[in-house]
């Protein structure tokens, strides 16, 4: 799935869960500039669909990912990270996103 199609699926699932998504949202993560594909600034929850086409792997270099993971662990800023090689279809991507959103609910981050 290309960047556009992947982002569309994720946005639909996140918005269905009640999140208010702004696309291409800039973030400063401990000094690392990251542009989230979708982000709800109020809840600190978003997603990043990593594709070669968009050059995401260059932007999300190991240090930036480590910083993002530290925040996710702390719970103040959580980006759902999906590599395009992980998914073969829109249905599969939607199911993975739903799993993530369920986890957020279980952790009390979503109603």
């Amino acid at each position: 799935m290309d960047e556009r199609a992947g982002r569309a699926v994720l946005r639909a699932r996140f918005e269905a869960a009640g999140l208010h998504i702004a696309e291409d949202h800039p973030l400063d993560v401990d000094g690392h500039r990251v542009t989230a594909d979708g982000f709800d600034a109020e809840r600190g929850i978003g997603y990043e669909y990593l594709t070669r086409e968009a050059g995401d792997h260059a932007e999300l270099h190991p240090a930036a990912v480590a910083a993002l993971e530290a925040h996710a662990q702390a719970g103040d800023l959580v980006l759902f990270l999906v590599d395009e090689i992980e998914v073969a279809s829109a249905e599969e991507l939607a199911a993975l996103a739903d799993g993530f959103l369920d986890t957020l609910r279980a952790r009390g981050r979503l109603a």
Binding site: L81, V82, E86, F100, T103
Partner: protein, 410 residues
């Protein structure tokens, strides 16, 4: 210009008719050329068979008397100098030594004990291991999943698993783990299923390694049995094998020999002489037929193709208004559309006739194995009334060529 003239209408009609004739003649001559390839292969085979039969008749065996007779008849001296009997004895000793070596080998000596169907020890061991292996292979097959290797490598289901819950792969792993776990109903967790899968894999590797060793041992034994069988068969047919090889060499010798050399030698051996005549005659027959097709038929075909092109060009030209008044002197017309075609037709007929005459010849007993023997005369039963033709034919045949005067199609 004086004399009667032929008008455009008659010229065009004659050209059209001639084109149709040319197409027929090209088809006919092509058919002969096509058949020649197949006929040639048959003749080569017949020649080889005749020479092989001659070699068999000349060399009855490898005993001293047979060798001496063969040398006397054919002049093939390697039958004396290379001592065929010594070759047989050397090979016999080599085969006997190897057979003795094999028969002392435990792999052959204990063949029944080791490899008898169902009861041989090796056979039993292999069957038992295959049975054990089957249940383990079933566990491994049951666990098959596109994500299994990743789950094992990342330690999914154990404390070693560190993939964050914010990653999509965490959920893909979870789904795959559940799917695999469903196939192991007695396992309470993926960790238990993983232990069962890993144990089965390790045991399977051990069994497979042992099975491979047993199968190699079994196959080596089978191979050595087969080798012994082959050596025993070779020993039994040793005389015939060597005799066959020497006959092949003698056949090659006969094929390369000047037939005149054999003439006197074979005088008292009419059957053998006939076979040699057949072999030599077939070689000449092939050469004559090749020459007829390549040197006599091909030029006629080229003349026909050229004439066809010219006629086609002329017909296009005659269709233009500026040539509406074209005429041709009657005598030239006759030469062009009657005389020349008749000569070409005669050439094809002649080549075809001679091809079939030579091809059907099989009166080998009428040949003589002497210098300058005129095979062409014999095969075509040619009698010349014209002195020049006769001289040309004799000279050509003496040089192994087909006389041009016989086949001139121009």
């Amino acid at each position: 210009m004086n004399g009667p003239m032929v008008g455009l209408g008659e010229l065009r009609a004659a050209s059209q008719q001639r084109l149709a004739e040319i197409e027929n003649e090209l088809r006919e001559s092509q058919s002969l050329a096509d058949r020649h390839g197949a006929e040639r292969r048959k003749l080569e085979l017949a020649r080889r068979r005749a020479l092989d039969a001659a070699a068999t008749a000349a060399l009855a065996g490898l005993d001293d008397a047979s060798l001496a007779r063969a040398v006397k008849l054919t002049g093939f001296t390697p039958l004396i100098h290379e001592n065929p009997r010594a070759g047989v004895e050397t090979e016999r000793r080599r085969l006997e030594a190897r057979i003795a070596e094999i028969e002392a080998d435990p792999r052959w000596r204990d063949r029944e004990l080791l490899r008898a169907p169902r009861v041989g020890t090796l056979v039993r061991q292999i069957e038992e291991l295959e049975e054990f292996r089957a249940s383990l292979a079933e566990v491994v097959a049951r666990a098959a999943h596109p994500r299994l290797e990743r789950l094992l490598e990342t330690g999914y289901g154990s404390d070693a698993y560190t993939v964050g819950w914010w990653r999509a792969s965490y959920y893909a792993d979870w789904k795959a783990g559940d799917e695999i776990l469903e196939k192991f109903p007695t396992a309470k967790s993926f960790a238990e299923a993983r232990e069962e899968i890993l144990r089965a894999r390790e045991s399977l590797a051990v069994y497979d390694s042992r099975l491979a060793a047993l199968r190699t041992e079994h196959d080596d034994g089978v191979a050595i049995e087969k080798e012994r069988e082959a050596k025993v068969a070779a020993l039994a047919g040793l005389e015939q094998t060597f005799l066959g090889e020497w006959r092949n060499r003698l056949s090659d010798h006969l094929a390369s020999l000047d037939p005149a050399v054999l003439g006197d030698r074979l005088a008292g051996e009419p059957d053998l002489e006939l076979l040699v005549k057949q072999g030599v005659g077939l070689e000449r027959k092939i050469a004559y037929l090749d020459q007829l097709v390549s040197e006599k038929l091909a030029p006629v075909r080229k003349a026909l193709v050229d004439e066809r092109s010219q006629l086609q060009r002329e017909l296009v030209k005659y269709a233009r208004p500026k040539y509406a008044q074209t005429t041709m002197p009657r005598d030239r017309f006759e030469r062009r559309f009657r005389d020349r075609p008749a000569k070409l037709r005669k050439g094809i007929t002649r080549v075809t006739h001679e091809y079939h005459t030579i091809h059907h010849f099989d009166s080998w007993d009428r040949a003589r194995l002497v210098d300058d023997f005129l095979w062409w005369d014999l095969m075509t039963d040619t009698h010349y009334s014209h002195d020049d033709e006769s001289a040309a034919a004799a000279a050509a045949i003496a040089h192994d060529t087909t006389p041009d005067t016989l086949l001139d199609a121009s």
